[in-house]
Symmetry: C2
Subunit: 422 residues, 2 copies
Amino acid sequence: MSEACTKSALARSVARELALAPRSQRERALLAAAARIRADEGTILAANSRDLERARAAGMRASLVDRLALDHERLSGMASSLEEIAGQPDPLGRVLDGSTLDNGLRVERVTVPLGVVALIYEARPNVTADAFGLCLRSGNACVLKGGSAAQESCLSLVASCRAALAEAGLPEDALQYVEDDAGHTQTQELITANGLVDVLIPRGGASLIRACLERATVPVIETGTGNCHVYVHESADLARARAIVMNAKTQRTGVCNAAESLLVDRAVAAEFLPDMLRELAGAGVIVHADGETLAVAEGLDLPEGALVAATEEDWGTEYLALEISCRVVSGVGEAVEHVNRYGTGHSEAIVADSYEACEAFLAGVDAAAVYANASTRFTDGGVFGLGAEIGISTQKLHARGPMGASALTTTKYLVRGNGQTR
Amino acid sequence: MSEACTKSALARSVARELALAPRSQRERALLAAAARIRADEGTILAANSRDLERARAAGMRASLVDRLALDHERLSGMASSLEEIAGQPDPLGRVLDGSTLDNGLRVERVTVPLGVVALIYEARPNVTADAFGLCLRSGNACVLKGGSAAQESCLSLVASCRAALAEAGLPEDALQYVEDDAGHTQTQELITANGLVDVLIPRGGASLIRACLERATVPVIETGTGNCHVYVHESADLARARAIVMNAKTQRTGVCNAAESLLVDRAVAAEFLPDMLRELAGAGVIVHADGETLAVAEGLDLPEGALVAATEEDWGTEYLALEISCRVVSGVGEAVEHVNRYGTGHSEAIVADSYEACEAFLAGVDAAAVYANASTRFTDGGVFGLGAEIGISTQKLHARGPMGASALTTTKYLVRGNGQTR
């Protein structure tokens, strides 16, 4: 049996014990994990240094090295996040609905853990603690597999968290970490561990997610692709619109809730676009523009290469970089149509002072989060009050948008009778 | 483009219109469909006669012919079911939760339709009306594909329902029916219509469901396999236990909530089993028994062939026939373990007078519905008050157990601000 299957089977073997553990015991384990991560700082940072050394020697990009690096502050953040999760309401045992049937059967529907949650992610050590915390909060055993570049850091964090489980009297095997191998054998084993893994959540770049979706036979929750739009309605406060566009595009570019496309009403294009295009160019953003935008921009004296003609492909592109597509539309109807056609159902925003336009956009756009007069950048489990997040679902089944602990539960009908037959 | 894709695209093209249609308009369409099915009885029954004639000529089994056959009463039942669905609370636009963030953003999570629901089912005309009704109730366009033997009946029902949509001012294209072809090309096209179909629900036998799960690339909800257990605890009222076992096994055998396995506590095996085995044999049920059961049965003078030795395979078998496996266990712990190992997570029952034993079984068994002192046969959307059901989910993601209209919804975050940036 492969390591991934052996470890998934170990997780499975203790999943019922975890599912039945009282709330206070799970919370004790979360707080113990936070305390141990703080106490084990020296060991964890030493492991991280070795990962960083190898990563730099292998020529890893600076932005990735940054995501890999731990320090006192980041470790404290991880611990605080676990403490916050421990303070959340328990997602288990909630009675969602119920009734007494005419024949006297008492039916209730309650929340229960999924069982075993598998997470495949990139070389980001902090995901290790967040994922463990959310799985434990929701009574799930978990099998984690992070990017190989972060392996020593992750294993060190996992050791602290497993010790915390034991300290709280819970089975250490409720947290498993699958080590990386050269040929992706373990990943392949993990995503096809039917009967052992109840759900797989790939968290990372588009290629990782696509690979999991295509090859997994266990249930998968799709996360993270975001071709997000900001639509500027003719009624918009144009200064506010520019501020929202700049924030949504440039505050962070590598994230799924960053804006990738700008739609502008024809009625205000000539007034809005010149300043907007100058401001984008000033921030180093390349604009992939439709014909009307190009026409408005004529004579603006933008820097060389700041404005290029958009192709059909641009409307569907998630740049994750200082690039944005831009198109002039005829109004909220055409904007909604464009967004529903090219969007990935992540986060979409309208900027408008018209109540009618805002409500039409909120109702008409089919996405996980739809904003009126705010940046798309707020779609985040922490911001929405879920504590940490285990990912942002861009699918419609099971969970949509930021997923916290309650997204890791399912339900069960409990039916109590006194001899009823049909 | 194949017929399945063309029709899915038509459904997709009107899905937003349906999603935004007011509650009363959807309800008018449901009532109009009920009225038309009643009014069109002659046409529908004539179409059904032609299906029946072909089926009989092809030598279809009597039980399948029965499921295919329509008459005045069955059509009335379909119409009543649509009327009941029209009377249900609206599953759309429910605000599930929400809050105002510190920065002033008002966040709310509301229920919205999935979009386009595809259903593949067997030659059962009544599923056509139920599926249409639940999809319309939940604002979803639907693409139906029933078994070829029921094609004329289904097309006739679809014509009545589409006329009802038009009568209520809704797009007829919200209901599509894909006709059967010899080579299953249309099924293959439908289950890979990514971007056009938001969810596929296969409803039928194990082979249909397995084929869809294996080959579909659109999201699938798994339904219907039920290896259901009845566990007789030593504290059980034994007469009640026998009544529940007989009902769960014999009231209908071809259904997913019928019992397929009997577990009996060792402490009461010698007292309970003789009468139980006689009663099962009397009803023509073949018992696949473990060694202890066989030992208890010695000298019972059961009919030839009523008792056979169970193999390991029997514990995992869904007979869907007058057969049941039987095993002696040491108590509730071993019973829970057996059920969680061999069950399919559908419906599981304990018969016991011990409060402790009942609660341990209810908490410990991982299934969609867990019963204390009642037959497993109650797991049904109608019984549980969901109106009709579109299937019984045996998966943990999205929906578990009987699925009514609300299982055909997803959620969306609506976020209203006044210029917030991050």
